[in-house]
């Protein structure tokens, strides 16, 4: 298949927009249509659980500049969802009955927040994924003032950041997490325990290793009942229990779907079809692991790679093998991880100390450094990210760190 002429991008958020920008900067002059089911102009999500929730930024400030960049020459189909893909006919079906023909397709439909089952009838229960979610949570917390009781369900990134932001607003905050520590899935239990201490120091009431049994209330949520029988009074409940990849529209298309669109190592999901961002699963050769990554940086990097892959046509294409990276701001702590870690990895503190809440930790596996975590040591994580990509050895890294300290 040669370089495509008509390109359709399904998904008009961070990854979809970056794909469009890259297609243009790489010289693609043919028509590009962007299909996005959100009615808002494209916006950035990381500030939603932080600056927007805390009321420091007005919602206008999170708009993505590329969304209004007319020089990209994009045709927008906004507020309409894609409902199907016909690979033989090479068309995308839209919810309004039309179908869009394409030569090349970029799948960037992202993911949506997972909800607690059986809570749809209760007001005061929120997810935090969209700008509307963020404004609704902010309004609900502000309405109750300092006496608002917020219960956060799930202590992943969103839950931990929401807890921190709501404490900063003065609300009383409880967090319920079935794992033994916040962020345990991405950082492991030991480093998760440090995050737990930071939240406790800021007055968060943590309930770890226990799940939610039910939410009670007449029309509005009033109580959260935990599996161990604990009852938490609640004015506002924010649910951060992960996301679901938006792949329903691809069912029956012939693409492989398995918790995301499955791609090859170059981001190709089918002939003339690439996927990127939260929705894409692909084998990252650097980690010898098939992964789906939900970080902000990842959406940009994979989208740029996928756009170039699409334009490469029949050429073999480069593998996409990044060191994943994220940051999370909680209170005055800046938490950054470069890499992909597992609970069984070796762990060493190579600078600072966890007691000071300022440190750098390395994760190792099979003689290699696979991750670097920092709390308020940003320069180190960026340097380690580059070194991890270059194959930094575990012994070598520990020796260098010992010499430097």
């Amino acid at each position: 298949m040669s370089a495509p002429h008509r390109i359709v991008i399904v998904g008009g958020s961070l990854a979809g927009l970056r794909a469009a920008e890259t297609l243009r900067s790489e010289g693609h002059a043919g028509p590009i249509t962007v299909v996005g089911d959100e009615v808002h102009a494209p916006y950035d999500r990381p500030p939603l659980s932080k600056q927007v929730l805390r009321g420091e930024w007005e919602p206008e400030r999170v708009a993505l500049p590329a969304g209004a960049n007319e020089s990209l020459g994009l045709t927008w189909e906004r507020g309409v969802a894609a409902t199907g893909l016909d690979l033989a006919e090479r068309t995308v079906a839209l919810a309004d009955g039309r179908s869009l023909p394409f030569d090349g397709l970029v799948i960037a439909t992202g993911a949506r927040a997972r909800h607690l089952l059986g809570t749809d009838h209760l007001s005061g229960v929120f997810a935090l994924r969209t700008i509307d979610d963020a404004m609704a949570v902010r309004a609900a917390v502000e309405a109750g003032g300092q006496s608002t009781r917020v219960v956060v369900v799930g202590a992943g990134f969103i839950g931990a950041e929401v807890a921190a932001s709501c404490r900063t607003l003065g609300a009383a905050v409880s967090v319920v997490e079935p794992l033994e520590a916040p962020l345990a899935r991405v950082l492991g239990a030991e480093m998760g325990a440090v995050i737990a201490e930071v939240h406790r120091e800021h007055g968060v009431d943590l309930h770890l290793g226990v799940g939610v049994s039910s939410l009670e209330g007449r029309d509005r949520v009033e109580r959260v009942i935990l599996d161990d029988g604990t009852i938490l009074d609640a004015d506002v409940v924010v649910v951060g229990i992960g996301v679901i990849a938006n792949t329903e529209w691809l069912e029956g298309s012939g693409l492989v779907i398995d918790d995301g669109v499955v791609c090859d190592e170059t981001t190709l999901a089918g002939p003339g079809v690439v996927a990127c961002g939260d929705v894409a699963r692909w084998p990252n050769q650097l980690y010898d692991e098939v992964m789906r990554v939900e970080h902000w940086e990842h959406a940009l990097d994979m989208a740029a790679h996928a756009a170039r892959r699409l334009l490469a046509g029949d050429a073999p294409g480069e593998p996409f093998a990044p060191v994943p990276f994220f940051w999370s701001d909680q209170y005055d702590r800046k938490i950054q991880l470069a890499g992909r870690v597992r609970p069984t990895d070796d762990l060493a503190i190579v600078a600072g100390s966890t007691e000071d809440r300022r440190f750098c930790a390395l994760y190792g596996r099979n003689g290699r450094v696979v991750g670097a975590l920092t709390m308020n040591m940003p320069a180190r994580v960026i340097r380690y990210r580059r070194q991890i990509a270059e194959g930094l050895g575990w012994d070598e890294a520990l020796a260098a760190a010992a010499q430097a300290s």
Binding site: W327, Q336, M377, A379, I382, R385
Partner: protein, 63 residues
């Protein structure tokens, strides 16, 4: 091209250093230092990328 950082907004996330180490350096004191306030045009794409990726929107480019 002139690089301007709003140090009231900057939180030294060091994302810019990862993209354009020729221009931005976060040192071990955790402060951001601008190595070249007027970098060469050849660095424009990297500097623009740094500005776009700054989590605090603290980087501006004049000219």
């Amino acid at each position: 091209m002139r690089v301007v950082v709003d140090f009231d907004l900057c939180e030294s996330n060091a994302v810019c250093m990862g993209i354009a180490p020729e221009v931005f350096e976060v040192r071990d004191d955790d402060f951001l230092y601008i190595l070249q306030e007027e970098p060469d045009e050849s660095l424009r794409a990297k500097v623009e990328e740094s500005a776009a990726r700054c989590p605090k929107q603290a980087i501006a480019i004049e000219g």
